[in-house]
């Protein structure tokens, strides 16, 4: 954010890149990539690829539409803190789910009876 207006071309190029990446996301979902079992979880490489593309798109939006580089220092600290604490929440929680003992990793059935979901 600044008092200088950004060039319209910057916005149009960002827009074009976002559209192209959306088309790539749709095409990438048609390719079947392997699913890797990791403990009780299954790591699906399709979703890893989809999320990688989504992160690139999100970066474009933040950098050019939300003009990250023209922002004040305090705003940059807040924006970075948001990403940092989001990752802290994700990694701590997923690490916890991944490392529990099988008797604790139970799911609910429709009838409300607990059952073990570990294969």
């Amino acid at each position: 954010m600044s008092f200088e207006p950004a060039k319209p071309q910057t916005y149009l190029l960002t827009f074009a890149a976002l559209i192209v990446l959306t088309i790539i996301t749709v095409l990438a979902a048609r390719v079947v990539l392997p699913k890797i079992p990791m403990g009780i979880m299954v790591l699906d490489l399709n979703i890893v690829l989809a999320m990688a593309i989504a992160c690139v798109k999100a970066s474009l939006v933040v950098l050019y539409f939300m003009h990250f580089k023209d922002m004040g220092q305090v705003s940059k600290v807040w924006a970075s803190a948001g990403v940092f604490f989001l990752l802290v929440m994700f990694f701590l929680t997923l690490g916890d789910y991944e490392n529990r003992h099988p008797e604790e990793t139970k799911g609910w059935t429709e009838s409300g009876v607990l059952h073990d979901r570990r294969p």
């Binding site: 990539l33 979703i47 999320m51 948001g82």
Partner: protein, 218 residues
């Protein structure tokens, strides 16, 4: 940081227009961080259930039409462009252009909600809304696990839809304000902050689209 000569009105609590701009921007980003963590919790729930109920999520996502989701993605990205142009017009003080671009953004947001309306109606008709009437019959798939997919679908797209509606209301208020104050040099910060909010709404959808409509390789 350059010190800019500007004729913008500055609040008495600020040293100059630049400090005022930074303060407002920092406040908006602080709000957006709370929003990121708000949606983040739901994304985390999605990751946990998806990694555990993989087959059910793949089967359930076929009930969603990726073409409608893709259309909505293109609509929201375009609305982000028109909003960015509205902010640009506000910075160079062209109030008619600001209202014009915000009207485009408003119409696109409306298109998004109309598509969402048709999608939701189809889910209600097909008994895919979670609750006692939920029906999902698919060989080898636990209906409770498929229901979790739709729980997350309605919670996350519903919350996102609420944000779209709030954005639309904000645009109406800003357009009225600009029209009423058309004869004075108007502070562009409210439009800028609405723009940040709108881009955030676009950003959330960028992640929602592949997670719900394009569940892996089938």
């Amino acid at each position: 940081m350059s010190t800019h000569e500007t004729d913008l009105p500055v609040g008495h609590q600020f040293e100059d227009a630049e400090q005022q701009l930074d303060a407002y921007s920092a406040g908006m980003w602080l709000f957006l961080v709370t929003e990121v963590l708000f949606f983040g919790g739901l994304f985390l729930a999605y990751i946990i259930y998806r990694t555990r109920y993989t087959e059910a999520f793949v089967a359930a996502h076929h009930e969603l039409d990726w073409r409608l989701g893709g259309l909505n993605t293109l609509v929201l990205i375009t609305s982000s462009l028109t909003m960015a142009l509205a902010v640009r017009a506000a910075v160079i003080d062209r109030w008619k252009q600001v209202i014009g671009w915000m009207a485009c953004t408003f119409v696109l947001a409306g298109c998004f909600m109309v598509v969402k309306y048709f999608e939701y109606s189809a889910k209600f008709e097909h008994h895919l809304f979670p609750g006692p009437n939920f029906q999902f019959h698919h060989p080898g798939i636990d209906s409770g696990e498929a229901q979790m997919f739709f729980n997350l679908y309605f919670a996350m797209t519903g919350l996102h839809g609420a944000h779209v509606l709030i954005g639309m209301i904000t645009m109406i208020i800003l357009a009225i304000r600009l029209y009423v104050m058309r004869n004075q040099r108007v502070d562009f910060i409210p439009v800028e902050l609405a723009g940040l909010y709108w881009h955030f709404v676009d950003l959330v959808w960028i992640f929602l689209f592949p997670l719900f409509y394009l569940v892996g390789g089938n």
